[in-house]
Symmetry: C2
Subunit: 191 residues, 2 copies
DNA sequence: GACAGTAACGGACCGCAGTCCGGTTCTGCA
DNA sequence: TGCAGAACCGGACTGCGGTCCGTTACTGTC
C-alpha cells in the first residue's frame, strides 16, 4: 500500500455530528491546556462541550482516541512535510540525511506535545500500534531503512525509542539534547 | 552504585503480614493463570486470598506492583545468572557475546511471561522505569555498552526494544524469531 | 503472663472510563 | 413538503482501580 493512503480519510458525517465533534475538540483542547491531560476526566470534557458522554465515546472510542484526534492536525503537518516538503525531511535527500531530519522533527513534535502523545499511546493497551499515524511513520522508516537485514523490524525499533512513554521517562534523567542525539545515533546505527 | 545493591532487599515483616503476602501471591498466580491477567480484578484477588482490599493495595501499591511481585522470583534467577553464572551470560565473555546472551535470555523470559510483564509495565504511567528490575538491567547494559558515545542512552534504547508493550504488539506481526534476531542485531549495532 | 504501642487489617467509599438503549433529529426520496 | 428510516444523542448504569480510617492483632518489654 502506498504511503499516501495510510493517511486517515475524513469520513462524511451528519451536520449535528460535525458540530458536536468540533465542540468536543475545542472543549478538550482548552481543558487539557488549562489543567493537564491527566487531570481532566471524560465527564468534564462532555459537560464543557455541552454533549452527552455517550456521544463523546461513540465518536472517539476512548480517551486515547480523543488525544489522537487532538494531535491529528499537528501530525498531518509533519506527514505533509515528509511526503511533499523540501529535503532533507521530504524526498530528494539520501536516506541517511532523511533519517536524521525525521528524528529531529519527530523529537520536536514529541517534546511539544508529550502529555497528549503519552495519553494517546497508553490509555488502552496496544493503542499506539493501532493508530494510523504509527503505521504511517513505520512505513516511512521501513522505506528509509531498505537494504538492512530486516527493515520492518528496524523501523519498529527506531519508533520504540521515540515512544512517548520512553521519552517521557528519560527526559528528567537525560534531558532533551541527549535524547535527540541518542535517537539520531541509534537510527543511523540501525541503517 | 554497584550492580549487586540494585537487587531489592527483603524487608522484615510481621508474621500476619507474611502470611497474607503469601496467600495473595498464591491466589493471584492461580487466578491469573486460569483467566488471564486482564480478566482478573483486584477485588477477585483479595476475595480469593481471604484478605481485605486495603491490605492488597497497601502491600503491592497497585496492580502493576502485584504483577511485578509475581515476576520477582523468576527475574532473580536471570539476575543471578548475569551476576555469577557461567559466561557468556555471566561475567568472563567479551561484551559482544554477553550482549547477545542477555538479549536471548531476556526474550525467552519475556515471551514466557508476556501478559504479566505488560501488566507490570503499563498499569500506571512510568511504572516500568521505576521498578528495581529495570534499573538493574539498565546498569548491566550500560556497563556492556561502555565505550559507545552515550552508554546510558544506548542501554535505555536496547531496553525500549524489549518492553513488554513493544514485543507484544510486534509478536503477531513478525513472530518471535524475527523479534529475537532483530533485537540482537540492534543491540550489536548500538555497541 | 499482662500491657502498651504500633503495625497491619478490611470493607465502605469515591471518582473514573466505558456501555447501553429509549428517545430525538437529521437527510434522502418522492 | 411530508415521510420513513437511519444516524445520532445523552445520561443513567456498571465494574474497576485506588483511598481512608476506625478496628484488630501482633510484638517487645517489664
Amino acid at each position: 500500500m502506498p504511503l499516501e493512503l495510510l493517511r486517515t480519510p475524513p469520513p462524511k458525517e451528519r451536520a449535528d455530528a460535525a458540530r458536536n465533534r468540533i465542540a468536543v475538540l475545542e472543549a478538550a483542547g482548552r481543558l487539557f491546556a488549562e489543567h493537564g491531560v491527566e487531570a481532566v476526566s471524560m465527564d468534564q470534557v462532555a459537560a464543557a462541550a455541552g454533549v452527552g458522554k455517550g456521544t463523546l465515546f461513540r465518536r472517539f472510542g476512548d480517551k486515547a482516541g480523543l488525544a489522537a484526534a487532538l494531535l491529528d492536525a499537528r501530525e498531518r503537518v509533519l506527514q505533509e512535510a515528509v511526503l511533499h516538503g523540501p529535503p532533507p525531511l521530504g524526498p530528494g535527500a539520501p536516506a541517511e540525511r532523511r533519517l536524521d531530519a525525521f528524528v529531529d522533527a519527530y523529537v520536536d513534535y514529541l517534546l511539544e506535545h508529550l502529555a497528549l502523545v503519552r495519553m494517546s499511546e497508553t490509555a488502552s493497551p496496544g493503542a499506539r500500534y493501532r493508530i494510523g499515524a504509527y503505521r504511517f511513520w513505520h512505513r516511512h522508516l521501513t522505506i528509509l531503512l531498505a537494504g538492512t537485514a530486516d527493515p520492518e523490524y528496524a523501523a519498529h525499533a527506531v519508533l520504540a525509542t521515540l515512544a512517548g512513554e520512553h521519552v517521557g521517562a528519560l527526559l528528567s534523567e537525560l534531558g532533551p539534547e541527549r535524547i535527540r542525539a541518542g535517537a539520531r545515533r541509534l537510527a543511523r546505527a540501525a541503517l
